[in-house]
């Protein structure tokens, strides 16, 4: 069956460290993968998109990698800050589904000062 899974446990790290979140998928052939941030009581906000033929994407303190052999994406936040505390969602889209996104369950990140 098709699955997309993220770290189910909350991730607690110290300010200034790098946070690494994992997204694994099975039985999908994604065209691209997106990462979103969701704060309590709000809708998700788009952060980054990476295509199947890209290995890595960066935006300021954010970095995403995509390994189609391992069927895994890693999301890194460097020099983390308490303001980075939120739930992070990965979502993938396949070629034959018209841009429909399938979301993982999200990983809650808490950055302590």
């Amino acid at each position: 069956s098709q699955k997309i899974e993220q770290n189910s446990e909350a991730l607690n790290i110290q300010e200034g460290k790098t946070a690494t979140l994992t997204c694994n998928y099975t039985n999908y052939s994604p065209a691209y993968l997106q990462w979103y941030r969701q704060d309590p009581g709000r809708g998700p906000v788009f952060l980054l998109l990476i295509r199947e033929n890209e290995k890595e994407k960066r935006k300021e303190r954010l970095k995403v990698t995509f390994d189609t052999t391992l069927k895994q994406s890693l999301f890194h936040i460097t020099a983390s800050q308490p303001a980075d505390s939120a739930t992070y969602l990965c979502a993938l889209a396949t070629y034959n589904q018209g841009g429909k996104l399938i979301f993982g369950q999200g990983t809650e990140l808490s950055v302590k000062p």
Binding site: A31, G41, R42, G43, F46, L49, G99, L101, I102, G106
Partner: protein
């Protein structure tokens, strides 16, 4: 640029009652999505519109849920009758075009539904 607007923000109803949610997407966005997000889970797509046509409603429980997007702009999602398991946040999202590779979606704040 104004974001995606949704109303109401909160709704509490009894089971077997009906409820409707409204969404106004970002101006000019052709594609509109309704998602259901149960606590602790990621959003699950219920229905996707391209202008005023349905692209995907494969996960919409059609015996109780309905949605429309008249004139290809704002949209309503209705549940009738509601069940306890419908308690969730209902998110509306929009994006400029369905066939763009960079299909970033813009989400509204959601409507939190509690069914008692």
């Amino acid at each position: 640029e104004a974001g995606v607007a949704q109303s109401p923000r909160y709704k509490i109803i009894e089971k077997r009652q009906s409820v409707a949610f409204w969404c106004n997407p970002i101006s000019g966005h052709a594609t509109l999505y309704w998602y259901q997000q149960i606590l602790g889970q990621g959003p699950k797509l219920l229905i996707q519109f391209q202008n005023n046509g349905v692209v995907d409603d494969s996960q919409l429980p059609k015996d109780r849920f309905s949605a429309e997007r008249l004139k290809g702009v704002d949209s309503t999602l209705k549940i009738q009758p509601a069940k306890l398991e419908d308690s969730a946040v209902y998110l509306c999202a929009s994006s400029p075009r369905r066939d763009r590779v960079n299909n970033e979606q813009f989400f509204g704040p959601g409507t939190r539904l509690t069914v008692l």
